[in-house]
Amino acid sequence: MKKLFVVLSILLLVSAVVFAGGEKEGTGASGAKVVKIGVYEPASGDNGAGGKQETLGIQYANSITPTVNIGGTDYEVQLVIVDNESSNDKAVTAASELVSKGVSLVLGSYGSGVSIAGGDTFANAEVPAIGVTCTNPQVTLGNDWYYRICFLDPFQGTVLANYAKDTFGAKKAYALAKLGDDYSVGLCNYFIKAFEALGGEVIYETFPEGTSDFAAYVANAKNKGCDVFYSPVSIEAAALIIEQANTQGLTMPILAGDTWDSNVVLGAAKGTKVDISVTTFFVEGSTDPQITSFVDGFKKYLASNQTAMTNNGGNDEIAAVTAMGFDAYYTALEALKKAGSTKGADIQKVLPEVTYKGVSGDIAFDENGDAVRNVAYVKKVDNTTGKWQFVSVQSVK
């Protein structure tokens, strides 16, 4: 028995070496040169669902445009996907895993915490990273190697605060964040700032990791007599909150950030009486050919690929993060073309000038490496059809 085990483990290690070595070679199956793009996304943990949807966008884009012309030669684009497990302590090893695989640049991540945690690793290795939906200012602040194509929390928080005030005439808001989650904590902070500036009052509470009982929180919101329930938390928590809100017959509207723009939320809210509005990057049903082609193409892609369908949450609702991932991929290709090199340093040099018209709007970077975006779309759930309804385009007054 012992011997068998020893033999097996040795086999395992040998194969490890073999495969690890196998990935190192510079030319792909087609024999073309290979440029590696790292996909730094959570596939498990609290942000697993969102991360997978974002990854889908990138994979879909890669399936459409699998090659890029860099400095006159065609390169096959190879995606190196690692799971940062939505946890800041795993993030570092995941990041260095990517770096050690020799990626030219990195896309991701969904969730700001992991991006911040991984940021230094990328910077040290001189691998530029393009944040897709990590909206916390800290991601790019003071990190010359991190760029992003999404708007920032201060903006989003303010937009939501305005929306709460204008649309619902809210005077008292209940803000719920997850402990130690930079995304929700950050977004709550900026919301509170903005909302109080508008003369509102905010009850701010946090729930520890691994909470599945939100009864008390919903009850708190009711008892404190709040007018809106603001909880820009992970999708996992979102579904549970909606469940509880429905059970306790929560009448106040629920507001959330871009994370909630997900079919998981739609699924949870369908057939309930919960009123949910979110700010997001992208809305379906535009007539712009670029968008329609993306939408139709992606739905075909899902239909053709079972695992993709499951990763998308079992239906073909398109999440904004998917669109963002899609755009991020093309932005990366633009950068590669412009740089005319696969060396991270060169790419980083040209990134500031890179611009791209994506399905989620025009993409350009400011001196900070942040996207120049001044509009967010507001959508609300249609509880009967379980689809998104476009409400308005909001921007900060």
Partner: protein, 294 residues
């Protein structure tokens, strides 16, 4: 009345979570009573039960899949004992416990692999998952049912332990392992029975728990498991009534704390409570005093 109405949700949530913790805690406390082993994998058995319901429910009607899942959980409990603990009977206690931790890892990671890291949502069980109104407080029927189910099961369990042959054997083994063995008690079957019973209760607990809080992730068993274990220690590990009382106390306090807005500490408070109790009763509320014969 307004005060009562506004605070009723916390109390209800507390009682129901308490009941669910109790059902898990029994598994811990029984196993500990017999093997002096902290079965860290128990919380994950609880999670597996939920996953099995979710997956089976997509193939068969709930009234089939629920009992099936419960039975399957019992089998899992049995298997875990045979695979992970039986070979370590003679080994130092620590390694048995490590085996438990390893098992918990294995179950979590298997779940992670199967679910692909995505949260699965529990099918809403008709009747018990319906929302109802008590004294103006909206809640799910399960919240009200749980404590009764718990009590009934406890009574049943206690009477099993008191009157049936296997129950007597269990008590004998937990009193003195070696002697019981010498007296011809079939240790292995007793231990297996303990694990099966514990798992069955955990399975029922999971039905109640997840009908209320529907999200199932691979690590979802962790916190309830830990809390239940704390409850078991709180009540004096090894004692079933102790575990149940401990569970209810913890469940209720936890929700009151949340109600008071100390949400950051809702988990930590459980441990504060535990440590305070251990300060004054080093073996919990009903634990038998450990005497060291010189």
């Amino acid at each position: 009345m307004g005060f009562f109405q506004s605070n009723l949700p916390y109390l209800l949530a507390g009682i129901s979570t308490g009941g669910q913790y109790a059902l898990i805690a029994i598994g811990y406390t029984m196993v500990y009573g017999i093997l002096r082993l902290i079965n860290f994998a128990h919380g994950d058995v609880f999670m597996c039960a939920a996953l099995m319901v979710i997956y089976s429910a997509s193939y068969m009607p709930l009234y089939v899949s629920l009992p099936l899942a419960v039975i399957a959980t019992g089998v899992i409990g049995f298997a875990i004992e045979r695979v992970a603990y039986k070979p370590l009977r003679t080994a130092p206690r620590m390694s048995a416990m490590i085996s438990a931790i390893g098992m918990s890892y294995l179950l979590q990671n298997l779940a992670l692999y199967v679910t692909g890291g995505l949260t699965k949502y529990y099918p809403s069980v008709p009747f018990i998952a319906d929302s109802i109104e008590i004294f103006g407080a909206m809640t799910k029927r399960v919240t009200v049912i749980t404590p009764f189910v718990t009590i009934i099961l406890i009574v049943a369990l206690v009477s099993i332990i008191k009157y049936t042959k296997i129950g007597i054997a269990m008590r004998a083994v937990s009193r003195d392992f070696e002697t019981a063995q010498l007296m011809g008690v079939r240790i292995n079957s007793v231990i297996s029975a303990t694990f099966v019973i514990g798992s069955l209760l955990a399975a029922i607990g999971s039905i109640l728990f997840f009908s209320n809080y529907t999200g199932v992730t691979p690590t979802v068993g962790g916190m309830p498991g830990l809390k239940a274990f704390v409850a078991a220690v709180f009540g004096g590990i090894g004692s079933i009534p102790g575990a149940v009382i401990g569970a209810f106390i913890i469940g209720i306090c936890e929700n009151i704390i949340k109600g008071l807005g100390w949400t950051t500490f809702s988990d930590a408070f459980t441990f504060v409570l535990l440590i305070i109790v251990l300060m004054f009763m080093p073996t919990g509320l009903f634990g038998e005093k450990a005497t060291d014969k010189v």
